[in-house]
Symmetry: C2
């Protein structure tokens, strides 16, 4: 693993994006978002995912010049057409607009169809929290998860993000509806480890902790079995119906052809109802209740969602972003 | 199990509520909501829960005359004080207001502190869907769930409801953050059955399917292990901070003293962005994708959340509501 300074990563990625038709501004923003995801420790969705973005530009799924447009508005609610633009730029713009609506109307919602993979969903939660807003957003995905009681992957893992702003560290949940991603299953298998909890079914239909058995059956588990299966269904329905976009079953089941997804972004403005400081005390109180909870293993305190991020971020900014040499070589050759 | 006609149940419960200080109107509505929960097959939260409501009126946790008031408004967002009123009447009023805001502004949100147990959360999802709205709401609860990595129950099971309207049957998810409720664990234990999937830890800290072992350890599992734990945390934070109400750690850990909870209600108006019919086709398409999914067990098709409700509702209206004789005797003696 190499360590490369944040700015060098960003400039390198931006230069590639310009070659593929991004404007200078949009290349800088898109590259910054990728670098920030790696900076925050979500290595699967940062620099390591960049070659996949380039592949989907090359095959026409992502249009570098595609910018979203508003197609309908009603009060605090807007529908956008993502026009096949880069998913992270589109999502950033959508949450930005939800925040602006929330400043004016207490809350705002932007729904967007015809957009693309947003990379790390947490990005847009952090964005809302940095603006002092509660952010809630989710996306549908290609089919990659069998529903409870079914053996074919007709559900998406549809990540759900909920962020709460706090001066002492935002709380940011970023949660896919599968218990383990295929990437996680692969990591466990390569390390020769079993999963700590059941992660799916084997080909005989038995629950198993063996990652290779789940890779063979294509039957990973939804979080909470029937519960996460139901949650995945309704998240897909809400995003697709409000956006008038594609539902999961209409999205190509291929990471390189996964295009035209549907997303929804909410911002809620605690300051709109005031007093903000008191709202933050309530959030701090919840964190304190976790801090004070007796841990299952001594000296391993209970953590809140996103608690590790600021420490990882500081370390990666200080030491440089961790980059896999093979991925970096590939990017340098683009 | 006796079967009693819906109207007789409603009138009987309403008469009891009037004795306890409800106005005629409010008694009728509150009684109707209880009867409808049993009618829809959620037996734990309907008539069987009525004696607990009466107990919390007797001990002063619930004020029969408490009606919610708006304490702050900003655009499409309102904060209410539930004034210790009956939880189901308060929640009904809050979702009703969110629906009215959504008619005007595309979406609406009402947050409410100082309220009480809302009984079946799905009620307010059905309410929104009947009005043609997407409804999203959740409540916090008393502490009854240890966070991931902790052994003390500092989280609530914080039910989350998401409803999507459809002429062919609304889709209504009503999902608590624990994999099994204590009521469900008790049922399995009494039937002498093991849980179908891991439901918690035993006193040695091992995952187990033995319901009695989980009742002894007080360590039921959050849905999806660390994931549902994080989701419970943020649902609590959002509801409590927006409502300026109590967070889970501030609520008495006693079913008879669980009072002053915090809730949040969203309505989204698909018709605000039009065309509604097309939105419904998208939802129908998702249902069809589940209908067409190859089932894990032959002849047991995959179901969407709430799919069974209309069938159960019809049956219970036709045959009468199932009522446990002991519970009914208790109610008749009130």
């Amino acid at each position: 693993m190499n360590r490369i300074p944040f700015n060098e990563v960003r400039e390198t990625l931006a230069a590639v994006l310009v070659k593929f038709g991004f404007s200078q501004d949009r290349a800088q923003t898109c590259a910054r978002l990728f670098a920030e995801v790696t900076r925050d420790g979500v290595y699967t969705h940062g620099i390591n995912r960049f070659p996949r973005l380039v592949a989907t530009i090359r095959n026409g799924c992502v249009d570098p010049a595609g910018e979203p447009v508003t197609t309908a508005r009603c009060g605090a609610l807007e529908r956008w057409d993502g026009r096949k633009g880069p998913g992270n730029l589109n999502a950033l713009a959508a949450m930005d607009r939800a925040i602006a609506l929330a400043r004016e109307l207490g809350l705002g919602c932007v729904t967007m169809g015809n957009t693309n993979h947003w990379m790390r969903g947490g990005t847009y939660g952090w964005q809302a929290a940095e603006a002092g807003m509660i952010g809630i957003c989710w996306t549908n995905t290609m089919p990659n998860l069998p529903p409870w009681g079914g053996v074919e992957p007709v559900l998406g893992n549809n990540p759900l993000v909920i962020a709460v702003p706090r001066s002492r560290g935002h709380v940011v949940l970023d949660m896919a509806m599968s218990q383990y991603s295929y990437g996680a299953l692969e990591s466990y298998r390569k390390r020769g480890e079993m999963l700590p909890v059941d992660g799916g079914f084997d080909t005989e239909g038995n629950l198993t902790r063996d990652p290779a058995a789940i890779e063979r059956s294509w039957r990973p588990l939804p979080v909470g079995y029937w519960k996460g299966s139901g949650l995945s269904v309704v998240l897909d329905m809400v995003a697709a119906t409000m956006a008038m976009g594609r539902a999961t079953h209409q999205i190509a089941p291929d990471p390189l052809r996964e295009a035209g997804v549907s997303q929804i972004f909410f911002a809620l403005n605690p300051a709109g109802l005031g007093p903000e400081a008191q709202a933050e005390q309530i959030a701090d109180g919840v964190v304190a209740s976790l801090d004070n909870c007796r841990p299952a293993e001594p000296n391993r305190k209970v953590r809140y969602p996103g608690e590790q991020t600021l420490r990882i971020r500081e370390e990666n900014l200080r030491l440089g972003l961790p980059v896999e040499p093979a991925v970096w070589d590939e990017i340098m050759g683009m």
